[in-house]
Each structure stands twice: as structure tokens, then as C-alpha cells.
Symmetry: C2
Subunit: 241 residues, 2 copies
DNA sequence: CGTCGATTTGAAATCTATCAACGATGGTGG
DNA sequence: CCACCATCGTTGATAGATTTCAAATCGACG
């Protein structure tokens, strides 16, 4: 049941059978959430840890004026609320972008597993750092990249992250976002996002319609966006046994 | 020796005498670094954990074109390279902005302490989350705040963080940064930073000269910058014993 | 058919970068 | 002590990127 997470860990860690069994033996509940629902809010103290099993979601910060800013996307295998264990509360909110299934893990049980399995403990810390690294890259995007590059970079990030979980088909992938979602995630206006998408299309880098992305020129896109995947920690170089 | 870190922990956690003794018994070395030196580079695997004891430093990402982007500031009590334990290497660099003293803690010994003292383990995780929260706020700054607000927000952040370690005197504090440093940290040009500082001065919000910041109107500044200190986790609300 | 959300278009306003230059300052070496 | 140099801060003019505002189009769907 918890397989997307295990797969994610195994991109970087060599789990023992015992480790894997410990994760699999966790008593989980599958939770379905409809599309475009805020299901964890800033200030919440969820008693379960939630792992995305299917669907797309995002982390966001809500503002008094009713607007929100997306600070990260969640795809299958990503953990929504790992931090709650040490912080006590969510310091941002989570919202689904498509219909989603979440795996709920009792927080206590998970802590127990981490305490007894050093490799798993390390793996969980690692995914937290991965989130932070992505966040840092978003900051870089927002400061150093032009609007067009930012949008392009986002499509690269999706490409690589979705490839890693095996849901990319010939450089095409499903992406249930609206242009307004991209605007929340980049801080650009929807008008401008629209124009940037048109440009990327005209330059024959990507196509994005009907919730489907097709990368027409991967190298061209990555070069243009100044995308380096090292921040996603996908290489197995510093493998830790 | 390790007192700035202990003080930081104690803003949020109730350390037992045993916890405190465990930290104090660590075999540390004090390292002096001259101003404006890169002393930890992306890719490094430092064998010690470094805690700022005195001075100002920053985290930054270096780019092929020789420029750099600051992604966070370090003040006394902040940890430079906690992540190396789980990641194996630095995924960004650290540079001093003034003469600095760093406390070097053997990584193994620190891990041991964390393993045996759950509260300390939690405290270390907490400071990691604090860093991440600040990063998230920087992302928000860079997307939602005007240049002038960004600069103002940075001065608010310094004010509150420096207050927390007790080095603010009547809403004045020492800040050994150049306008170019502010530009690295905001992504603005130095020219524009200069103009924003002039505006803030003209609006009688702050004064910044000779490495000294004086906040002339705290409420006005915070309101203007849309600054809320909750992201700095300074409140003792969700105190964990 | 009408409505709603999403996308697209155009024109003007605003913000920030860019380029170029100048003044002040402090340190260094002669 | 002075001349020189480098760094920092300042100013002005212009170009470019992005937002803002307003409106049109499109498609899905009841």
C-alpha cells in the first residue's frame, strides 16, 4: 500500500527486507479527496501522516486578501505533513489539484518505525531535505529566471519528478493544472503565464493543452530554463547503504 | 561554549539539566574566519557541524557566471551544515559577511547526543524547519512583495532575529552588509536597492548607514512590509516539554 | 440556449533593470 | 604625506519586462 513512498526511498537508499517489511506492516488507511479541496490547513495538527498515493496536490500559503501562493507541488510518493511531528502544527496548507488518494499513517507508529530503523529515519530526513532543495530552487527561479524561463523550469521539474515515478510516456505527461495554477506557483499573472505558454509553444519547446504536457524539445527546454536536475537528488552517486 | 545554540533551543524547548550537560560536554573547537570568506562550499563534506558563535554569514548558491544568490542569513546560534549528516554533502555554500567565530562539533558525537536525548533531537529538527520556514518566506517576499517591501521585510527579519538573541539596542542593530549584499539577498540590482533604501529613509521607516540599522518606526515598517513574525517560530505557544 | 470557468487579446501603466558616470571613502605603497 | 586604487554609494536617462484593466472568445455542461 505504501509502495510509492518505498519506491521513492529506494531511488536513494538500499532498504533491507526488514526495513521494507516495517513500512509495509504499518496500519494505513486510504483516504480519497475530491479535486480542488483544501484538506490540510495551516495550523492543523493532523494525527496521521499523509502520503500522496495518486493525484496532484500543492502546498500553499493563504493570505488575508484571499489569494494564495503555491510553494510546492506534491505527486505520488510525496509526504504532506512530515514536519508536524516536530513542529506540532502545519505551517502551510495543502490542497488537491486533482482527485487524490492519500495514505494515512498513524504518526506514533511511524515514529516508532523510524526510531527502530536508522535507514528509514535517514530516508525520511532525506525527503524533507529534498523538499527544501526544491524550495530553494523555486526561490532561485523567482529571482534569476525570466517569466518564460520560470514556466519552462516548472515543466522541466514536473518532467523529471514524474519520470522518477514512472508516469511519463515519451516526454508527455498528464498535468491537471490550469494556467491560474501556474500563476499561483510562479507569482506571475495568469495573463502573463498565458503569453509565456504561447511563446514556449511558438518556440516549439512544449505543448500544454487539455491537461496534457508534451515536451517537444527536451534539451532545448532544459537549456532555455537553465534546468539542472541535481537539486532533485536523483543521481545515485552518494548512495547510502 | 555552545551557549548561543542552547539559548536558541530554549526559546522553544524546556531542556533538562541532562540535555544541557550533554550539549555542553561536547568536545568543540572554536574556529575564526575572516570577513567575506567562503568557508563551506557546495559539494563539501565537512566533518564537523558548524554553529555560528559570533558574526554574520550567509548561505548562497553560486552560478557559473560567477554571480551568487544569497538564500539565507546566519547569525549567532544558527547551524551551517546540519543537513550534511543526512545528505552527505553541502548543497549550497556558506560565506562570512563579517569576521566570524564558528563552533565546530564532531559530527559523530553530535549524532550520539541526538540519539540519546530525544528533546535535543527534536530541537535540532526544529531549527531545520525554522530555516525552511524562513526560506518559504523569502520565496513569498520575492513573488508578492515590491522591491521596497522586500528590503523592508529583510530589515524586519533581522530586527526580530537579532532581538531574539539579544543584540538589538533600542531598535538599532549592527548589520555589516553592503548594499550589494542586500541585492544578492533580494535579487534586485544594487542601484535599485539603493533607491529603495532612500525611499525607506525618506518615509522615516529606517536608517541604514555605517553598517548600522536604526528602525525609526517599527509598526510602520512591519505594516508596510507585511511582516508577520509567526514564520520565525518565536512564540512559545506550542511549547514542547 | 445560457452560464461559468478558462483562455486569449490589446493597450496602457508601472516597476525594475540596464548602462554610464560620478563622488566619497579608506587602504596601500611609494 | 601623497598618489593611487578599489570598493561603496549615488544619480540620471533609457529600455525592457510584467502588471493592470478591460473585453472578447471558447468550450463544457446543465
Amino acid at each position: 500500500m505504501i509502495t510509492p513512498l518505498i519506491k521513492k526511498f529506494e531511488r536513494r537508499f538500499l532498504l533491507s527486507d526488514v526495513d521494507r517489511a516495517a513500512l509495509e506492516s504499518l496500519d494505513t488507511i486510504l483516504l480519497q479527496v475530491r479535486s480542488r479541496k483544501s484538506f490540510l490547513l495551516e495550523g492543523d495538527s493532523p494525527e496521521y501522516v499523509h502520503v500522496v498515493h495518486s493525484g496532484f496536490a500543492c502546498r500553499y500559503k493563504a493570505f488575508p486578501d484571499g489569494s494564495r501562493m503555491t510553494v510546492g507541488f506534491l505527486i505520488p510518493g510525496d509526504i504532506c505533513d512530515l514536519n508536524v511531528s516536530t513542529l506540532g502544527i502545519m505551517d502551510h496548507s495543502i490542497r488537491t489539484l486533482s482527485e487524490c488518494e492519500f495514505i494515512q499513517i498513524p504518526r506514533e507508529a511511524l515514529s516508532g518505525v523510524m526510531a527502530e530503523h536508522p535507514t528509514l529515519d535517514r530516508a525520511f530526513r532525506w525527503v524533507a531535505l529534498l523538499d527544501e532543495s526544491i524550495l530553494r530552487e523555486w526561490l532561485i527561479s523567482s529571482r534569476r529566471r525570466s517569466a518564460e524561463q520560470q514556466v519552462a523550469h516548472l515543466f522541466c521539474e514536473f518532467l523529471v519528478r514524474l519520470q522518477a515515478i514512472g508516469v511519463v510516456d515519451q516526454s508527455s505527461y498528464h498535468l491537471p493544472l490550469t494556467q491560474a495554477d501556474l500563476s499561483d506557483a510562479t507569482g506571475l499573472t495568469t495573463v502573463h503565464v498565458n503569453r509565456m505558454l504561447q511563446r514556449l509553444r511558438r518556440e516549439e519547446l512544449i505543448e500544454f493543452k487539455e491537461k496534457n504536457v508534451r515536451i517537444l524539445n527536451i534539451d532545448g527546454l532544459m537549456t532555455f530554463a537553465d534546468f539542472r536536475n541535481s537539486y532533485l537528488f536523483l543521481d545515485h552517486q552518494s548512495f547510502i547503504a
